[in-house]
Amino acid sequence: MYDSSDLRKGLKIIIDGQPYIITDFQFSKPGKGQALYRCKLKNMITGYTMDRTYRSGDKFEPANLDERRMQYLYNDGEGYHFMDTKTYDQVTLTEENIGDAKNFLQDNMEVDVLFFNETPISINLPNFVQLKVVKADPGVKGDTATGATKPATLETGYTIQVPLFVEEGDVLKIDTRTGQYVERVKA
């Protein structure tokens, strides 16, 4: 068990049976009163965020979470399938579990699957992925303003803003944390 003085940013705890991560934390204490531990919490399954204030003496159950490196196989009506490349165990995650990560998932990509009490709840992508452009309009001639962008569709179906020189067939480096274009890897 944790108690209030263990609370800090990044700590994972269970509230009402669900795993939460503390995304922001502030200690406050009136000179003569009880300490208050003000937390912003994010539900690690649904992504739902909430504010909670705890007092000294409150106890918290640590969230039993572990991460396993797995390979993405495919997506069908049931969900997104992943395989442990050592044990060949397979797990299936729902679209809700996957969230925005679906925009960057490629067949055979290695990702970290997060398990809560042995149930897969979400995935962590590598910070950067390389994806091919399948559709991009030609840049408008004469528009040389620096920073000008246009939309481009990637092989995953995700559309992002890219510089005007990007063309169909280019491979781009994308930051999965921001969902933004970083650079062109291959023209």
């Binding site: 003569k32 009163g33 300490a35």
Partner: protein, 272 residues
């Protein structure tokens, strides 16, 4: 003035650092009042002390385990005189700051342009307005301090020093009960720039009443899993020798934070 003692004032929510040697244990003092208040009984009328104070497990944007307290006492005065003192200190510090061209804090200069005017607000009124209940009628200590932090303080005028006065009698700490309204005590807190800056009161000088309060504080310590603190007998017996007086503690680091527009107390304490 020593920073440590074999004794400490029993307070429900303050965790103490203790230091040990082969001869026993001493506490790093969480406040200088243990040594200072008894000086009132030695014929010293007015005095101040500035020095370190230590509180365990207090770490946050406005809290550091070691910080600096300015504490002062005035004989034959009550808490209203301390409110004037605070207002004067804030004015003097503000003018001094404006002359010190090496520090540049546009926010502070802007907010103190027209000089310092302050506001006095009774706890009862503040709570009825901002928290929707009256702590002078209902005793609920946890809810009281929580609402000060979460409801009352955020509703105060941030840039105007505000004295919250006449705390509930059950939150009197070491202060005197108000004779005109026994539901409250002559205790106040000063708020400025969103922070509690000072806590002052007309001093309680009745050893029996103080002993009862210490025992209550210790009871709360036990309930919240803290060790009770041995009753400081010499402190208690000194009270009856003291002249009527008022005393106050002001957080020096927090005042520095205001002057330098610091978001965290770490910015004004070297190598924390």
């Amino acid at each position: 003035m020593p920073s440590s003692s074999t004794h400490a004032i029993p307070e429900a929510t303050i965790e103490l650092f203790s230091i040990h040697d082969t001869k026993g244990k001493r506490y790093l003092l969480p406040s200088p009042e243990l040594y200072l208040k008894p000086m009132l009984g030695h014929g010293i009328d007015r005095f101040f002390h500035i020095g370190p104070a230590f509180r365990k497990n207090e770490k946050g944007p406005h809290h550091a385990p070691e910080f600096t307290i300015l504490e002062w006492y005035r004989s034959n005065e009550d808490y209203t005189r301390l409110i004037e003192d605070c207002a004067n200190i804030l004015s003097v510090v503000t003018s001094a700051f404006k002359r010190a061209s090496e520090i540049h804090n546009p926010l502070f200069l802007e907010k103190t342009k027209g000089g310092i005017t302050y506001e006095i607000l009774r706890i009862e009124k503040a709570f009825l307005k901002y928290a929707g209940w009256n702590p002078l009628e209902i005793e609920d200590e946890d809810r009281f301090y929580e609402d000060i932090v979460l409801k009352v303080e955020p509703a105060l005028k941030k840039f105007k020093p505000t004295f919250l006065i006449d705390f509930p009698s059950w939150a009197a700490s070491l202060s005197r009960i108000k004779q005109e309204d026994k539901r409250s005590c002559e205790r106040f807190e000063l708020y400025w720039f969103g922070m509690e800056l000072a806590n002052g009161f007309s001093e309680l000088l009745d050893p029996d009443e103080q002993l009862l309060r210490f025992e209550r504080e210790n009871q709360k310590r036990i309930e919240s899993g803290l060790r009770p603190i041995e009753i400081p007998d010499r402190f208690l017996s000194s009270l009856s020798r003291c002249a009527s007086a008022a005393g106050i503690a002001l957080g020096v680091d927090r005042l520095l934070m205001i002057l330098t527009d610091s978001k965290s107390i770490k910015e004004v304490i070297p190598a924390l």
